[in-house]
């Protein structure tokens, strides 16, 4: 881990620690989505196990969009981003620091949401519960790595807050599909989630590598 990455990471974590904007807004938003889904689908028994994996993933996805937009909007104020462009470090370090920070925030939200989720959906996990410790971070990483990248990509466009979900969700969908299938497999115990976990890991490796390679291009796009 290099010093530039570390500096960026500490800075992002410190800003969040002081304001708690991202985590609070994400947490409340995800809670709203979970409640909305349980009101509209009346989850009970086996049915709740079937849908809860999907609800958890979709709630995280919607909630994280607000935080991802904020991540770069902060840098625009007072032309901080222009200063970053002139800094003699590679943009990919700043990118990785933002991904790590956002990964931490979204994981925090998932941890805080988990008990609420178990209560509302009356969940009894039938598969290997410990596999969730693999699936959720992999899925969150896919979301946050692509999300941070596309948030930076859409930063200079009109309606950037609107644009981010429009370009992020289609690219994220294969990962979402793998994540939902894997969690459903774990909750219901009906099938082996291994193939979906492998797909998710492959997706993470491919897209994270491409993001790191192309980040300097979009940071210095002008």
């Amino acid at each position: 881990m290099t010093s530039a990455l570390w500096t960026h990471l500490v800075k992002d974590l410190r800003i969040e620690w002081r304001s708690r904007e991202a985590i609070n807004s994400m947490l409340f938003f995800a809670l709203l989505v979970v409640v909305l889904f349980s009101l509209s689908f009346d989850p009970r028994g086996a049915f709740s196990r079937d849908i809860s994996g999907g609800v958890l993933c979709v709630a995280t996805m919607f909630a994280s969009v607000s935080a991802l937009n904020q991540a770069w909007a902060r840098e625009i104020r007072h032309q901080v981003l222009d200063a970053q462009r002139m800094a003699p470090t590679s943009g990919s370090q700043m990118f990785m620091a933002k991904v790590l920070a956002n990964f931490f925030f979204v994981s925090m939200v998932q941890l805080l949401l988990a008990p609420v989720f178990l209560v509302f959906y009356n969940l009894h996990i039938l598969g290997n519960a410990w596999l969730l410790a693999l699936v959720l971070p992999l899925g969150t990483w896919a979301l946050v790595a692509n999300g941070t990248f596309f948030a930076a990509l859409s930063i200079n466009s009109r309606n950037r807050e609107l644009l981010l979900p429009l370009i992020l969700f289609p690219i994220f969908m294969p990962a979402l599909m793998a994540m939902v299938n894997a969690t459903t497999g774990i909750f219901t115990g009906a099938f082996d989630p291994a193939v979906w976990i492998k797909l998710l890991a492959g997706y993470d490796i491919i897209y994270t590598t491409v993001s790191i390679m192309l980040f300097d291009t979009i940071l210095r796009a002008e």
């Binding site: 990509l153 644009l163 370009i167 969700f169 690219i171 294969p174 491409v210 192309l214 002008e222």
Partner: protein, 231 residues
């Protein structure tokens, strides 16, 4: 000269299309499905052309990024291929997504199944629609760079879709190079190949026209910018 060549190519394509239609209508009915199978003469070639043009779009995106600083004129031509490939590819992919359910309703009794192949083709369509949306939304000089990057991200999804085509599901298995029951009778194979050729040529005509249009639009935009500076 180029115009004449393109006109000749378009005329040849028209002949091919008429011939392909003739072959498709007059091919013998299939043993299990009767006439319903004839959708294969449109559905499969459209899917092939759509995938090919998404690859063209990705190549255009890579070319744009490669020449962006060294040779801006050449980079703009590559960008033209990127947008033309994505737009025409989306049209052909739409044809696939429309003709598929028509056949599915007849053969399966349902319009749509959330099978791996159908889902991934739909995802591909969504990804390239989002690419076209980005080109609309993102203004200024960065639009081409941003969309080229998204074009590469989208192109990476194509092999994932291709691999999932070989995962068994509800969609008919690979007709060629699959198991021992795959393959086609020669009297159906000939119309099938003829239609692939016809639709490929038709796609190329539209692609080339769209590319020329994009180059003209780029030139017009550059002229307008220059006039605004001199005014």
């Amino acid at each position: 000269m180029r115009k004449i060549l393109l006109g000749l190519f378009a005329a040849m394509t028209t002949v091919l299309m008429v011939w392909g239609f003739h072959l498709a209508v007059n091919a013998p009915a299939e043993m299990m499905q009767g006439d319903a199978y004839r959708i294969i003469f449109y559905h499969v070639p459209s899917a092939m052309v759509a995938f090919l043009f998404f690859a063209v779009s990705m190549a255009g995106s890579i070319g744009y990024l490669a020449y962006r600083e060294k040779n801006p004129t050449r980079a703009l031509a590559w960008d033209g291929w990127a947008v033309a490939g994505a737009e025409v590819g989306v049209v052909f992919c739409t044809v696939v997504l429309v003709t598929g359910p028509l056949w599915g309703y007849r053969a399966w009794g349902i319009w749509w199944a959330w099978d791996a192949r159908l889902t991934t083709t739909l995802l591909l369509w969504l990804i390239y629609v989002s690419y076209l949306l980005l080109r609309r939304f993102a203004g200024g000089s960065q639009m081409r760079t941003s969309s080229a990057v998204l074009g590469i991200f989208g192109g990476i999804a194509v092999p994932i879709v291709y691999i999932s085509n070989r995962i068994p599901g509800q969609h008919p298995g690979p007709v060629f190079g699959g198991d021992s029951s795959s393959g086609m009778a020669p009297e159906i194979l000939r119309p099938f190949l003829g239609n692939i050729l016809a639709w490929l040529c038709w796609g190329l005509v539209v692609l080339i026209l769209r590319h020329r249009l994009e180059l003209k639009q780029q030139a017009a935009a550059a002229r307008d910018a220059e006039q605004a500076l001199n005014a």
